[in-house]
């Protein structure tokens, strides 16, 4: 293990040769997700209200305490990092304390690390003499995974140190943040991106990456079987088959089908997610049937996420549908 951490090669004595040239600082490979992360608040796609507010803040050189929330992949982390980079420039590293779910964030950390960091006062001039806002930012990413005790411990710190510290909490579900914290922050909701914005961004990335991707066209990217396969989406005919089998009311066939899904490695959770839309829009079902099925669907989905067995949950759902369709 130690050897693994220290060096990539097991052969002893490779030292002298390779250390002479520090690998000429080759550009590290980065996936497009990282490469095209917005560097600037204005680059952030779609979230126009949030961007407008932040732009004003950056110009004015001051920030409120903030709570950013919204579904994954809407740019919450990117936005705040870009904003603080713009505000602090080179001093970015000193003025930011970023804690995410991969850091220990229990009540002890709030009491010591966060409190200590927030008590340091920040100067209003940079080393080179230019003015810069006299505060630090503490970014608590994925704050919904913090315990309530830890959140409560934050309350007073947020108020007391407001002269020298701004807090920025980021989360997916605002309901998991205790009310005293939400009331101390200005809330920004990040909405899910529209399809056209996604296409625009993909087009832009394709252009930057060179023409080889242009042939196929980004619209193509969003709608092919290959990509469905890659993103784990289950083909529509599976859903149709499932409903059809339930309509026939044959338990053996249902069991066979569920086994088949298991063998082909499709995720039951994914299937249930898609099934909701499928059921709601289905023309062949009446409203009470839809209601019964969706009710069961919600229950099964919850149990599944909570660790229940895939086989049992989907069979249960199937039986419920069979009875509902009778």
């Amino acid at each position: 293990m130690q050897a693994f951490l220290k060096t990539g090669k097991s052969t002893a004595g490779t030292g002298d040769k390779s250390q002479g040239a520090p690998a000429a600082r080759r550009k590290l490979p980065a996936p497009w997700v990282e490469k095209y992360r917005p560097r600037n608040v204005d680059d952030v796609v779609e979230q126009s209200e949030v961007v407008a507010v932040l732009r004003k803040c950056v110009e004015g050189g001051d920030l409120p305490n903030m709570l950013l929330y919204g579904p994954p992949g809407t740019g919450k982390t990117s936005t705040i990092l870009a904003a603080s980079r713009q505000i602090f420039g080179d001093m970015f590293k000193d003025r930011i304390l970023e804690l995410n779910a991969s850091d220990e964030r229990g009540i002890n950390v709030v009491r010591t690390k966060i409190k200590n960091f927030s008590q340091i006062s920040a100067s209003s001039v940079r080393p080179d003499g230019k003015p810069c806002p006299p505060f630090k930012i503490i970014i608590l990413d994925e704050a919904d995974s913090m315990t309530h005790a830890a959140q409560s411990a934050l309350r007073r710190t947020m108020e007391k140190e407001s002269r020298s510290t701004r807090f920025c909490l980021i989360c997916n579900y605002v309901s998991r943040i205790i009310v005293p914290i939400t009331s101390r922050c200005s809330k920004f909701r990040f909405k899910a991106l529209g399809e056209d914005k996604v296409i625009d961004r993909l087009k832009y990335i394709c252009e930057m990456e060179g023409s080889c991707y242009r042939l196929k066209g980004p619209e193509h990217v969003i709608n092919t079987a290959d990509l469905f396969e890659m993103s784990g989406v289950i083909p529509e005919y599976y859903l149709e088959d499932y409903l059809e089998i339930c309509r026939s009311g044959n338990y053996q066939r249902l069991e066979q089908f569920v086994r088949e899904i298991g063998f082909s490695a499709y995720s039951v959770g994914q299937m249930m997610e898609q099934f909701v839309e499928f059921i709601v829009d289905h023309p062949g079902l009446n409203d009470p049937q839809k209601a019964t099925i969706c009710d069961k669907l919600g229950e099964c989905c919850f149990r599944l996420q909570d660790g229940g067995s895939e086989y049992l949950q989907i069979m249960d759902l199937g039986c419920c549908i069979i009875l509902a369709l009778k």
């Binding site: 390779s18 490695a265 039951v268 229940g308």
Partner: protein, 351 residues
């Protein structure tokens, strides 16, 4: 003397027996200098691990096969020591954080972050990044998965993560969207039959097609189990014959008997007997979720639809509770009692 499963495990992507298109795609992926986080998902015995090892070999050469295993100790915030086994080569590290039970978050934070933060010193002639293979990813607690999120983004320059899971249902969406999912479906019957026959050919044995088919039927399309069964059959009787008996898994037989006993009599006295049998299964190390599934499959066989639906409803409820609780036997027994109740009352009202 290795088992056939290990002896004939393909070592290179080009030698895989099924999902060849996917193998070709994986090879293309390796050829590029860059490479996303991956998540292999599929039922057990479908070849996830084999593919991961092939992929690593394709990327780093045969060096990844020189493995060493180590036991590492971690201290949790509550000052508890947990030990986790890791298997590593110079290029990759394989760990099963769920070994640490509910303390898996500590493993993710300490070990994975530590490895992910260190750079490769000499990067000439190899990739700039290391690979961390997380097996049984679906056993990770939600906390541990959250801890993984930002690590995956932050240290993407020095480390790639490959997660192997049985199903993506239990993986939080944030992790799912950060990985390229690779679906490894179970091989179909003809594929398993041809693999079994190839294996026998290489061992210098003749395998009747009929026997091969029966092995496949029993294996539930789990290639590993099929090969193990075949090898067990070989030990039992050396030159294969078409109507040779294939030993059943004894816990499955036991479970089947248990189910038929439940059907035959529904009384408190019987319930006590069943409890003993359930304990027997649990102490033999049969995972409780398999017991649940096996019981349900057997019990609903001869019931009409309304009983089936009710049974499943209770089964899902108790199984879910069992996952959050600590004592499995309570929930298994509660389910059996509930089933007896349903079965008997419907029987009484009918007669």
């Amino acid at each position: 003397m290795a088992l056939w499963v290990d002896k004939y495990r393909p070592r290179e992507l080009s030698k895989l027996d099924f999902h060849k298109d996917q193998a070709a795609n994986l090879r293309n992926l390796c050829k590029q200098s860059d490479f996303p986080h991956l998540m292999f998902y599929g039922p057990s015995g479908a070849g996830k691990k084999t593919r991961i090892m092939c992929l690593l070999r394709e990327m780093y050469g045969s060096g990844v096969e020189r493995l060493r295993s180590e036991t590492m100790t971690f201290t949790t915030p509550s000052n508890r020591k947990v030990e986790v086994m890791t298997v590593s080569s110079n290029y990759h590290l394989e760990v099963n954080p769920s070994d640490a039970g509910m303390y898996d978050r500590t493993v993710v934070i300490d070990l994975i972050k530590q490895v992910a933060q260190t750079h490769q010193i000499e990067i000439s002639g190899q990739r700039e990044f290391k690979v961390i293979v997380i097996s049984e990813g679906d056993e990770l607690t939600k906390d541990a998965q959250h801890a993984l999120r930002r690590t995956m983004e932050k240290y993407v320059a020095t480390c790639r993560i490959i997660i192997s899971v049985n199903s993506t249902s239990r993986i939080i969406p944030a992790i799912r969207s950060r990985c390229l999912g690779i679906r490894v479906a179970a091989p179909n019957e003809t594929e398993i039959v041809s693999i079994l026959q190839n294996t026998c050919k290489r061992e210098g044995l003749a395998l009747p097609v009929e026997l091969a088919k029966r092995v496949v039927d029993k294996s539930e399309r789990n290639l590993r189990r099929a090969l193990l069964m075949l090898e067990a059959a070989k030990v039992a009787k050396a030159p294969f014959t078409a109507n040779q008996e294939i030993p059943d898994l004894d816990w499955q037989v036991f479970l089947r008997e248990t189910a038929s006993q439940i059907i035959s009599e529904q009384t408190p006295a019987k319930l006590e007997k069943i409890r003993e049998r359930l304990y027997e299964l649990l102490t033999q190390g049969v995972p409780p979720n398999l017991i649940f599934r096996g019981l349900v499959e057997q019990l609903v066989n001869n019931c009409d639809m309304s009983i089936k639906a009710k049974t499943l409803e209770f089964a899902t409820e108790y199984e879910h509770r069992m996952q959050s609780g600590a004592k499995h036997i309570f929930h298994l027994e509660a389910f059996v009692a509930q089933f007896m109740n349903i079965y008997k009352s419907s029987f009484l009202s009918w007669s």
